[in-house]
């Protein structure tokens, strides 16, 4: 690369006196302010502006419908279309979980249950949301397609106990997921 010699710019009298540039600057700032006040800032539409500047005013306006498919929100347990809870409490997610947020107490399925063949299901399944880092490893490691990261991101609570999602809560957020591999079904 050749060396480019940049010359110090020669300022004219008008530039040296500075006042014209000041007035110009004020006009630019004012124009920008008026634009922002009218909600016509650049990017106001794509950023879901609330009508002033580009700021989205959170609790009233939300991103929810623009979250991408791969968004990683709260980890949840799911049931399938047959109403079976898919977790077999193999505890792989508990082992893989980097911050050790998951705690599972395995339980047996009684023999008179239609799904007795599956043998195990969680008796208790707690995810401590103050520890969870939303990494998605539990979802990746699950051999039963039972745990999924859903799009819920507003996990709040007034105490540590309230931040622990128990089994009931996890199934409640997770809901029913269809189109999964049903490997425990009878093949006639």
């Amino acid at each position: 690369m050749a060396v480019v010699k940049v010359k110090r710019p020669k300022l004219g009298f008008g530039e040296k006196i500075y006042l014209g540039a000041l007035a110009k600057g004020f006009l630019i700032t004012l124009k920008h302010a008026l634009k922002s006040l009218a909600g016509k800032s650049i990017g106001a539409d794509s950023l879901k502006s609330s009508g002033m500047g580009v700021t989205m005013q959170f609790p009233e306006t939300r991103w929810d419908d623009q979250l991408p498919e791969y968004y990683r929100g709260a980890p949840t347990l799911v049931t399938d279309e047959q109403g079976r809870e898919r977790c077999v409490s193999c505890q792989l997610c508990e082992f893989i979980c980097p911050p050790k947020a998951i705690k599972i107490k395995p339980g047996e399925i009684p023999t008179d249950d239609p799904w007795a063949k599956v043998e195990k299901r969680p008796q208790e399944f707690d995810i401590d949301m103050t520890r969870c880092i939303y990494c998605g490893m539990c979802e990746e490691v699950c051999p039963e397609q039972a745990i999924y990261l859903r799009k819920d991101y507003l996990i709040t609570g007034l105490s540590r106990a309230a931040m622990v999602h128990d089994k009931k809560k996890l199934y409640e957020i997770g809901g029913v997921r269809t189109g999964l591999v049903n490997k425990w079904n009878e093949l006639k």
């Binding site: 110090r8 004020f26 006040l37 002033m52 500047g53 700021t55």
Partner: protein, 419 residues
């Protein structure tokens, strides 16, 4: 005896009203405007949530009145914070400094005329606290005491950044005091007196200094002297306004507290209400500064265009309400000027320290000095012969050229880093 008591009561009422119900509320108002306006400039919304906290009373929702209660919340927060005094400070001065910055700003309010005289039950009353004949001089004398607060804060904190901030502030305020004082001499020459109340009355009758387009209630072009006097008036206005920016430590001259270099400047070691006092003193100084600019150059409380005598005539029964209206006009002008302060803050980048000093000593000091003579020449012109005027003009031009030449050769040309 009863006369004296009534007089005292009137004075106390005025002090309480103007200081604590006009000036002090203007401080949070300007903070609110600062935050909202700068948010708008930066494509944000700003504080718009804090309102009447009905949820505290068990209702479902608060009423957010455009976030107007944000300053109240800020104040409560600052009051309830821990007031921490570091172990290494010089305690007496450390405690004294915040008070020394606020009090001068609050004292200067006493010469600012807020409105035209009102009369209640035939008793005429001026709408300013102290009707003294040294108006602007008093303001300069008292407001320059604020520098002690800042210097003491910087020194007593016993820590490097506050110290540098304090020293910078001292140098800056002393430098700009000179151009501040010199720049208004043309204004005082024009009015021929220092009483701010009379100055504003004169402007109401004969047109504002920067807008002399009416005479005794009739709109019309000014005479030759007044028209020519616009030139020194505009120069004085520019120098005075910029010097006020430097005096109140506002951007682009906020070097005593520039965050990028000095953490927080002279109030780095302060917390809680002591910090709030510095904050308040700064904004009160800004309010007083714009009040002074509005009073001297932009007609103070007068509406202008010959409407003032009509407003003065308004009355309900025996009670003339014109003065109250004029207070409103004055505060509106004040807020407009504070908005200008904020616009400047978010437009002009901060000056380098040597540039600041050069601007004060080399540019404004000389410009203000020459401006005084220019103003004197224009004022004296009607009484002088044409020969005397010509000699004066030539002398003035020669002096100006000489000053510019000296300023030019005294500054070494910038050396190129690499030839």
């Amino acid at each position: 005896m009863t006369d004296i008591i009534i007089q005292l009561l009137i004075i106390v009422t005025k002090i309480v009203f103007f200081t604590f119900m006009v000036l002090l509320p203007l401080v949070p108002v300007s903070v609110y405007f600062e935050r909202r306006f700068c948010a708008v400039i930066q494509d944000r919304v700003g504080p718009n949530r804090v309102g009447i906290p009905l949820t505290l009373l068990g209702f479902k929702k608060d009423i957010p009145i455009l976030g107007l209660f944000q300053p109240v919340a800020d104040g409560i927060k600052l009051l309830l914070k821990e007031d921490f005094t570091p172990s290494y400070v010089r305690t007496t001065y450390y405690w004294l400094a915040p008070a020394l910055t606020v009090i001068p700003a609050l004292i200067t309010v006493c010469v600012i005329p807020f409105g035209s005289p009102i009369s209640i039950l035939g008793h005429q009353e001026q709408l300013l606290i102290a009707d003294i004949g040294v108006g602007p001089l008093f303001v300069f004398a008292v407001s320059s005491l604020a520098v002690y607060g800042i210097t003491l804060a910087g020194w007593s904190s016993n820590s490097k950044y506050p110290f540098i901030g304090g020293v910078r502030s001292t140098a800056q305020m002393i430098s700009y005091e000179i151009s501040l004082g010199l720049s208004i001499i043309p204004v005082l020459l024009y009015y021929g007196e220092l009483n701010l109340g009379h100055i504003v009355q004169h402007q109401a009758d004969h047109g504002w200094l920067l807008l002399p387009f009416w005479q005794d209630g009739k709109i019309g072009l000014p005479d030759a002297t007044t028209a020519l006097y616009m030139i020194p008036a505009v120069i004085a206005f520019i120098i005075f306004t910029v010097s006020i920016f430097a005096e109140t430590n506002r951007t682009p001259f906020d070097l005593p507290e520039c965050e990028t270099e000095l953490v927080g400047g002279y109030h780095t070691e302060y917390s809680s209400m002591k910090f709030a006092l510095f904050f308040m003193g700064e904004y009160a100084a800004m309010v007083i500064g714009s009040a002074l600019i509005v009073t001297l150059f932009l007609g103070g409380w007068s509406v202008g265009f010959g409407l003032d005598s009509w407003i003065n005539g308004l009355h309900i029964g025996d009670f003339q309400i014109g003065g109250i209206l004029h207070i409103g006009v004055f505060v509106a002008k004040l807020i407009a000027f504070i908005l200008f302060f904020i616009l400047v803050r978010w437009t002009v980048p901060r000056f380098r320290y040597d540039q600041l000093m050069k601007l004060g000593w080399v540019v404004f000091f000389e410009a203000a000095l020459i401006n005084v003579f220019l103003a004197a020449l224009i004022l004296a012109a009607p009484e002088l012969g044409s020969a005397a005027i010509a000699i004066g003009a030539v002398l003035l031009l020669a002096v100006t050229a000489a000053v510019i030449w000296v300023a030019k050769i005294s500054e070494p040309a910038p050396k190129a880093l690499r030839v």
